[in-house]
């Protein structure tokens, strides 16, 4: 088996395949990081819009809660299919990549909203009282008092989910988005050994996930040092 691998390797890592894998890697990175970043931004917005002491007016709270509770409970693949068919039904011309990105964003937003809510609620009500009594606007209560104290609670699960989304993007291969997993499948059907194809992307996935997790841990340690006071 090893001889077979060694014989295949130079051909597998040829310039054409590397370029192909590179494009797949770029798509995986874009789906994961861009998707998570956009999703988290929307999620924070949802958390702020849901909070009764921030901007939570009732209709907004109902819609946001419904969205968050639903999207956290649907498997990624099902969400992907829903978005895919929603685009088809609407007749909008969207690339498969866009469909996958929208799915990641919608998922990430729901999870981030819930994490941010937990972070906001970790700040005791008397901190709000003090700020409001001193005439802080809602935005300032949030940005100067509540958010700085929320990060400690919110950051670890956020990075946990970020790593989760990197892995979830492999499901986008099901609709034919050229990301790492799909690339491995294609190369496999072109006659390269499954071990070589999937072994390679396994290493690549690890190389993306591991630094993400480390970054999270380092930020967490820094915040614990600065705001655990």
């Amino acid at each position: 088996m090893w001889e077979q691998l060694l014989e295949d390797a130079p051909r597998f890592f040829g310039p054409y395949n590397l370029l192909f894998l590179g494009e797949a890697l770029l798509n995986t990175l874009l789906l994961s990081y861009l998707g998570a970043a956009m999703g988290f931004a929307i999620g924070f917005g949802l958390a702020i819009g849901r909070h009764p002491r921030l901007y939570g007016v009732l209709p907004l709270r109902i819609v946001a809660t419904l969205y968050v509770e639903t999207f956290r409970r649907i498997p990624f693949l099902v969400k992907l299919m829903c978005v895919f068919f929603a685009f088809q039904l609407s007749g909008a011309q969207a690339s498969l990549f866009t469909v996958a990105l929208v799915t990641v964003v919608l998922s990430a937003a729901a999870f981030a909203a819930e994490i941010a809510r937990a972070g906001i609620e970790s700040v005791p009500a008397p901190q709000w009282d003090a700020a409001e009594a001193m005439n802080f606007s809602r935005w300032r209560v949030l940005t100067r008092v509540v958010a700085p104290q929320s990060w400690r609670v919110a950051l670890p699960p956020l990075f946990g989910y970020a790593v989760g989304f990197i892995k979830s993007t492999s499901i986008a291969s099901q609709i034919g988005v050229l990301e790492l997993t799909y690339a491995a499948k294609i190369l496999n059907t072109r006659g390269f050994s499954a071990l070589l194809c999937f072994g390679t992307i396994l290493v690549v996935y690890f190389l993306i996930c591991w630094p993400t997790k480390r970054l999270g841990e380092r930020l967490e340690a820094r915040l614990a040092h600065r705001t655990a006071r």
């Binding site: 008397p126 901190q127 009282d129 003090a130 802080f136 100067r144």
Partner: protein, 256 residues
């Protein structure tokens, strides 16, 4: 000039009339409370737990919404249902809480300086100089860069008082500010308040420290079940209570 109607008596500096506050829209935690505080006066609020003392202070700064009643400061009525009026009211009052409520993510100096710089848009260097002076005044000159969790309860409470003073309030509201402190730390906070009284600060003080109230307050209001039962000079309230409820309360307090 609008002629002043001689039939209307002059309003006190802080005038509360018929204040009623309900909780969750059902129970009245305050019922028809009226109270007047003159400029430079210190008024003590006493009464059993749950009698509504803290609710008065929390309502004045807009942390609870009154259902009925009128509040005016220096003749200007406050409409608690209007955002603008509430903002104006909050500029008049500063409140110090039982649990200090210092912002945990800021140093002592930042805690004191943040509202004047951020909310009142004053020059940061000038505000910080004032904040340092205020912290020195409460005996914490060397703690300006300490975070709340590095300070004792008494020190945190003194930072909280400095933070309230930095707002230059017309009226300082003190909500059981020594109740959460270890007995040996109570004295330092009370000394700070005594100094404020000497400087002529108008204060409304909720406290269980009866000896202290007797000493600093010019008048005392006794509350029970959300209503003001008796108001008078400390000697009257503590020595010759008129109502049975106040007699019962003082006898229980003095027995301890």
């Amino acid at each position: 000039m609008v002629p002043i109607d001689p039939g209307i008596s002059r309003l006190a500096f802080l005038s509360i009339a018929g204040l009623t506050v309900s909780y969750g829209g059902k129970v009245d935690v305050l019922r028809d409370v009226s109270l007047e505080v003159e400029r430079g006066e210190v008024v003590g609020l006493i009464g059993p737990s749950g009698s509504g003392k803290s609710t008065i202070l929390r309502t004045l700064v807009g942390l609870m919404k009154p259902r009925a009643g009128r509040v005016s400061v220096d003749g200007a009525p406050i409409d608690y249902s209007s955002r603008g009026s509430l903002r104006a009211a909050r500029d008049r009052f500063a409140i110090v809480f039982q649990q200090y409520n210092l912002f945990q993510n800021m140093t002592a100096l930042r805690n004191v300086a943040i509202a004047p710089t951020l909310v009142k848009k004053r020059d940061r260097a000038q505000v910080e100089a004032e904040a340092r002076a205020l912290l020195a005044r409460v005996g914490l000159a060397e703690k300006v860069n300490a975070y709340p969790d590095e300070l004792s309860g008494g020190q945190q409470q003194r930072v909280a008082i400095a933070r309230a003073l930095a707002l230059k309030p017309d009226i300082l509201l003190l909500d059981e500010v020594t109740a959460a402190l270890d007995p040996e730390l109570v004295g330092e906070v009370l000394d700070t308040i005594r100094a404020l009284q000497r400087d002529g600060m108008t204060m409304l003080i909720v406290s269980h420290e009866m000896g202290f109230i007797r000493e600093v307050a010019s008048r005392v209001a006794f509350l029970d079940q959300g209503s003001v039962v008796e108001v008078g000079p400390p000697a009257e309230i503590f020595d010759t209570p008129k109502s049975a409820r106040l007699r019962d309360f003082t006898s229980r307090i003095l027995r301890h």
